[in-house]
Symmetry: C2
């Protein structure tokens, strides 16, 4: 191995070593027909012996596809996103597509510029919780870029492919559970106002109350950033109310965990003195004490579904359903019980 310069090998050098043309090497590389078994064998050996791999930029340029798919995600760390990511990654790898991961930090402008970059680099993208308006996304579509939105923050135009979870039904299940346990004074800690998920779940919450003949009390609906600390603060506010709730329906598991912490800090016991229901069912929900009753979103499944939608788009199948809503399901654990007074 007199590998003087450790330059990358090119297809031309492999062709030379094997005594064939570059076209033939390319055919072997891509498993095309029109090569005799003998030649194929020979070329494969040379390729292997020299550890050659094709330059993907050249391939992308020549073939017009890069085999790359962008994933735009606000943050990498939170379990919510990494669960979706994990599902998407699995499905993409099955399709031999590579992931270009782009965190956007919830920043609109950064997201726009990342998308611009991605347009020249990837075949398509998954956009999780996009900060962009429907109009902006439509423009992207008109420019010929193919993408799928995961869990849209706001209502999007019909033409924009999207995957989301059944928020209203999930909220309804959670509320029905609490109502069946006998709760009457049920608070809701919502997500940020205006988010689709927030409003859909609010609808479910109110509808369930109405169905049970309970007049919704505006004081029992409070908004929080979907993280633990804001959740704790919101719960503290609710527990300080003159007439505090006996149950809290939280926008996500983080908020629910904050609520449990708030209760504990006040010497209240969950679920005896306060029932708490979360949303998402990330791993945290099983770690916390008491284990959280929560509405499960099939996050990995959402990722996989988005990929299958996208890959159909990439193959130019136009006629498919552009919108998928996956079912949510209540998982009952230990954070809910009948109210004390019942």
């Amino acid at each position: 191995m007199s590998q003087a310069t450790s330059q990358r090998l090119t297809i031309r050098q492999i062709a030379e070593l094997a005594g064939v043309s570059i076209a033939t090497v390319s055919r072997v590389l891509n498993d095309r027909g029109d090569v005799s078994d003998e030649t194929r064998e020979l070329v494969s050996r040379v390729i292997h012996e020299n550890g050659y791999t094709a330059n993907r930029s050249a391939r992308g340029l020549s073939a017009g596809r890069t085999g790359l798919v962008g994933i735009l995600v606000p943050l990498v760390y939170p379990a919510y996103f990494s669960a979706i990511l994990a599902g998407a990654a699995e499905a993409l790898s099955e399709r031999d597509l590579q992931i270009v991961l782009s965190p956007t930090g919830h920043e609109h402008d950064r997201e726009v510029s990342v998308l611009d970059r991605l347009r020249g680099l990837t075949d398509g993208a998954l956009i999780i919780l996009p900060e962009e308006s429907s109009e902006e996304l439509e423009r992207l579509l008109d420019r010929g870029y193919r993408f799928v939105v995961l869990d849209p923050l706001m209502p999007l135009d019909e033409r924009i492919p999207s995957v989301s979870a059944a928020h209203t039904s999930g909220a309804d299940q959670a509320m029905r559970h609490l109502l069946e346990l006998g709760h009457r004074r049920i608070a809701q800690i919502t997500g940020p106002r205006g988010w689709l998920a927030t409003e859909d779940r609010r609808r479910g919450y109110r509808a369930a109350l109405a169905a049970a003949g309970i007049l919704p009390d505006p004081a029992l609906e409070v908004e929080a950033v979907p993280e633990v600390d804001p959740g704790r603060a919101a719960a503290e506010y609710l527990l300080d109310l003159p007439e505090p709730p006996t149950a809290i329906f939280a926008f996500n598991d983080n908020i629910a965990i904050g609520a449990i912490q708030a209760a504990r800090a006040r010497g209240l016991r969950v679920p005896d003195d306060l029932s708490v229901v979360g949303f998402d069912d990330v791993e945290h929900a099983t770690i916390v004490t008491p284990a959280l009753t929560t509405v499960r979103q099939p996050l990995a499944e959402m990722g996989r579904t988005a990929v299958s939608l996208l890959s159909r788009l990439l193959e130019r199948h136009r006629f498919e359903t552009l919108h998928v809503e996956l079912a949510t399901r209540l998982v009952v654990r230990d954070s809910t019980a009948p109210p004390r007074s019942a």
Copy 2:
């Protein structure tokens, strides 16, 4: 906007629209000198008006760099990995590098083939917990690929750049803490045998015992896959011992959480009846009850450090330190206390 075919624009069309050569457009795109303000202004406007972005494959081919960095990670979901990923992502985005994310599922062969792919696509890579032998990695190095290993599983050749955490010192801090609290019978749930981290921490564990004049009891060292359930099983075994430990030093937070669950299931109280120390300090550690005393690994910082090492390699700076070990630090929370008998 009579955008009949929504084909992507090329630099040639932009040049035509602006009435200049493609060389000039390229210069504007890349902020090179040698363009009059006037022309630059004009070209920028045309670019913007038409929403043009360069084809990265072509750029990569021509310029010899793709601006892509691979990240090989066993799994995406676990907090340990996403924390590192988050740090690396931040640092890469500051350097205008894009991430190609490749989960390998802890599978050696998959990792090898992913690396092969990445060699033709990216400028370099971060390899987290590589499954590969030092020899395999050296071969990669010899082929001219640039990469940094994060948290090596086994000892690597000097030439291979790596970033890791101070395992031995971390273990020592944890043990010292338990010893100072008065524990004498301290068990260890280790990670998989042979892992560098496992052996280093084992060394710290034994050294601390020795320094305290305690003879290590082989029965108190048990191995577990670093997840919650195996952790619980291992703890159950320890608690069933004729003479059970009063404290457990776990290989990571997941195992520690499993240990807490095992104790609770037996009616033991943590930390009163059993002290537990974890390792990593992922978010779980603050969610669990009682909050976990644990050795903090600066995961995001490790990601950032690896990126800064890699980017120096990419710029062909050869002389830098190739090995970085970041300090670990004990974070005392609520899962440790003096033993009952003390």
